[in-house]
């Protein structure tokens, strides 16, 4: 299909079972859409993403010679890749597809207003039909992939990922900020559920990584510069001890920068008494020998634990979600302390010993007569410190009783928070972050290991708080993603980049200052200065096009005309009433 051919648009409105059709009158929308300009066919179907829905699109493209396809269904963030593939299978260019979001943006958020929702659906379809009519086929480009992966972070996740890539026969360079491998895992004593010393696990992985001819380990090092695109990234790594910088080319990156233990300042008297410590500090004590009360250097006799310190809290210092390690870790160490201590008390909000083998750990703590008491989340345990020590008062939710306990050591099960330097890492790799600061995956279910920056994967606690088991599982997954990219050898890149209409360019440099990536520059062609876009560097944000005062920049697949056509299609409809500004 050439770009000169007149548009023949097919509109396919999806019921999504009851999800859209329960609120939006999809039959009516499909009927109205058949009257919109350039629409050759407008129809509706139960599930457009199903095999039969996809077959319907292909069939109609072939039967009616459709050259633009509009699917009105769910969010394009969900199924745009699916439908692009469908139109490609029927011989259309993938950029001749346009999706309307009738589910997330209409039916699900206007559930009680079916009429207004149907009107909104009609408008959105009209807007997309207008845009679709102006869509241009774009050349699908591929680039080669450098057979070398960068792994950022030498904790358990980074080690696992680097080893997996090395085992598959590809090169991996592991960059670790500190002088040691193992990260936070190396600070622990023994690991649940099978009591393996953390050191053994870390050593096994570190030794294997050091022995692997495919894995290069750079300690005391940080990534200072990062440029390029999927398949061909240029990385500068600086050794913070020698101040030496090295440069390398990699095809893909795994970010496994882990977490910092939450420092619970302002919680339960932390900092006011040396005997109030975090679970992470207790673990380090256990790793280094015996657990001693910091103030007396004697074994503690009465120990209390408090759960969810910084976890499951909205809008405060820690994070909103469950840290997914502390219940089991706390139950394990509480049971172990019972060998020496008279009383061990666990104050919990909920007990979530969810993983394989974790319930055994919980059961053992109960068998060892660790006292479990559910505290009131709205009225949290109160800690008072005076000359006679720590006094803990709380309301036991299950009995309704107000209780007291005088622990000689209080342990706070602290959350995991994004590590120091996470801001820098996010900037360097253009990663987006969730409200609590962890790096975002591309899609929580459909693409949980890739990020919004093509070619960059995340693994472990960098993505969210989690246990070592879950971290290594993710790391192996991310390594598989990296390896599949490298093994393919080439990768398709988005063709949605900016280009310059030379005749309109006045070489004013606005685009040069606007571009966040240095992709635009001014070059003299035949003695005349005009702007140039280095396509490999262009990420397609369109900031240059919006800034250009001469309209000389065409942002492909997001052109001025395409966007303006949507505005016009909406407002030229029956909406405009009289009135007038006061």
């Amino acid at each position: 299909m050439g770009s000169g051919e007149s548009p023949k648009v097919g509109v396919f409105v999806c019921h999504c079972g009851h999800n859209i059709a329960g609120t939006v009158n999809v039959e009516h929308v499909a009927e109205l859409a058949s009257e919109f300009p350039n629409v050759e066919l407008s129809t509706h179907f139960m599930f457009m993403c199903s095999d039969s829905g996809q077959a319907l699109i292909r069939e109609k493209i072939e039967e009616l010679g459709l050259n633009r396809v509009v699917v009105a269904s769910c969010s394009p963030r969900m199924h745009e890749p699916t439908f692009r593939k469908v139109v490609e299978e029927a011989g259309l260019n993938r950029y001749c597809f346009e999706q309307v979001n009738l589910r997330e943006h209409v039916s699900w958020c206007h559930m009680k207003e079916p009429e207004a929702a149907t009107q909104k659906a009609r408008d959105l379809v009209r807007m997309s039909v207008a845009r679709a009519s102006l869509l241009e086929p774009l050349e699908v480009k591929t680039v080669s992939v450098e057979p070398h992966a960068l792994v950022v972070g030498g904790g358990v996740s980074g080690l696992r990922a680097a080893l997996d890539i090395g085992d598959r026969g590809f090169r991996a360079t592991l960059v670790e900020r500190t002088g040691n491998l193992g990260g936070n895992l190396a600070k622990l004593s023994t690991l649940y559920p099978n009591n393996e010393p953390a050191k053994d696990v870390v050593d096994r992985m570190s030794l294997a990584a050091e022995a692997s001819e495919n894995v290069t380990i750079l300690l005391n090092s940080e990534v200072t510069n990062f440029d390029g695109h999927i398949g061909n990234f240029e990385v500068t790594v600086k050794n913070n001890v020698t101040e030496e910088e090295s440069e390398m080319k990699v095809g893909t990156v795994i970010v496994a920068t882990g977490f910092d233990p939450f420092e619970p300042i302002g919680y339960y008297g932390y900092g006011d008494s040396p005997d109030i410590i975090t679970l992470s500090a207790l673990e380090e004590m256990k790793r280094d020998g015996t657990v001693l009360r910091p103030s007396t250097a004697q074994p503690p006799k009465n120990v209390a634990f408090i759960s969810c310190v910084g976890s499951r809290e909205e809008g405060v210092k820690g994070h909103e979600h469950c840290s997914r390690y502390c219940c089991t870790a706390m139950a394990k160490v509480a049971a172990e302390l019972r060998e020496e201590a008279d009383e061990v008390l666990m104050l919990y909000d909920d007990i979530r010993t969810f993983g394989k083998g974790h319930e055994d750990v919980h059961r053992r703590a109960r068998q060892e007569h660790v006292i479990f008491s559910k505290y009131n989340k709205k009225k949290k345990p109160a800690v008072k410190i005076n000359d006679s020590g720590i006094m803990l008062k709380w309301n036991d939710v299950l009995s309704g009783e107000n209780c007291e306990f005088r622990p000689d050591m209080l342990v706070l099960a602290n959350a995991m928070v994004p590590p120091e330097g996470a801001d820098e890492v996010a900037k360097i790799f253009s990663l987006t972050r969730s409200a609590d600061g962890f790096f975002n995956e591309e899609h929580i279910k459909l693409a949980p290991l890739t990020t919004h920056t093509a070619g960059i994967m995340i693994a472990g606690a960098a993505q969210s708080a989690k246990s070592a088991t879950d971290s290594t599982t993710q790391a192996s997954g991310a390594a598989a993603k990296a390896v599949s990219l490298i093994a393919r050898g080439e990768v398709e890149i988005e063709s949605t980049v900016a280009s310059v209409i030379d005749e309109l360019c006045s070489a004013c440099h606005t685009c040069v200052t606007a571009c966040p990536y240095g992709a635009t520059s001014i070059e003299a062609t035949k003695g005349v200065e005009v702007a140039r876009v280095t396509e490999a560097k262009c990420h397609g944000c369109g900031t240059c096009a919006a800034g250009c005062p001469s309209g000389a920049i065409v942002m492909r697949h997001s052109t001025d005309d395409q966007i303006s056509s949507m505005i016009a299609a909406l407002l030229s409809s029956a909406f405009v009433h009289g009135g007038g500004e006061k």
């Binding site: 969010s75 394009p76 963030r77 979001n101 589910r103 997330e104 943006h105 039916s107 699900w108 958020c109 206007h110 559930m111 009680k112 207003e113 207004a116 929702a117 009107q119 909104k120 408008d123 959105l124 807007m127 801001d423 996010a426 900037k427 253009s430 987006t432 972050r433 969730s434 409200a435 975002n440 919004h452 949605t496 606007a514 966040p516 990536y517 990420h539 397609g540 944000c541 369109g542 900031t543 096009a545 919006a546 800034g547 942002m555 997001s558 001025d560 966007i563 505005i567 016009a568 909406l570 407002l571 030229s572 909406f575 405009v576 009433h577 009289g578 009135g579 007038g580 500004e581 006061k582």
Partner: protein, 144 residues
């Protein structure tokens, strides 16, 4: 009842929204997934980045009869393209001045930041703008 009064009674604000693909469009998706209910007056146009939003788009929308315009992007510092949203913010200051200078109520336009995880924030922003625009009444340039 006069025709104008009938029209006003039936009038529903039309709001054009420009949402960046990575934060606010995804935030609006999350609002839907979370079944957060908000006014159905907004029509979202997906752009890669708020940096893509040419001030002309905003003015064109108003010129063609939109009652309000929303631009919603990533929080400063969280832009998927590192700084496109900051470019928009810089333009916005000028745009607001121009809009006010033309005698258009600044209540009709809104620039907001809502991340992919802030469905509620996105919905609240739409609600607030819709209420303000409803209060300001139907918009049409005086000179047409």
């Amino acid at each position: 009842m006069t025709t104008a009064a009938v029209e006003l009674k039936d009038w529903e604000p039309v709001i054009v929204a420009f949402c960046c693909n990575w934060c606010s469009y995804a935030g609006a998706d999350l609002a839907g997934t979370s079944r957060i209910q908000y006014p159905p007056n907004v029509r979202i146009i997906r752009v890669n980045c708020t940096g893509r939003v040419d001030p002309d788009f905003v003015l064109d929308a108003l010129d063609q009869g939109a009652d309000g315009v929303l631009v919603s992007g990533c929080h400063p510092g969280d832009c998927h393209y590192t700084s496109g949203n900051l470019k928009m913010r810089a333009r916005w200051a000028l745009l607001e001045t121009a809009i006010e200078g033309a005698g258009i109520s600044p209540d009709r336009v809104r620039l907001q930041w809502a991340s992919a995880s802030e469905g509620q924030r996105f919905a609240d922003g739409v609600k607030e703008l819709t209420e303000k625009v409803r209060k300001a009444g139907p918009f049409r340039r005086k000179w047409t």
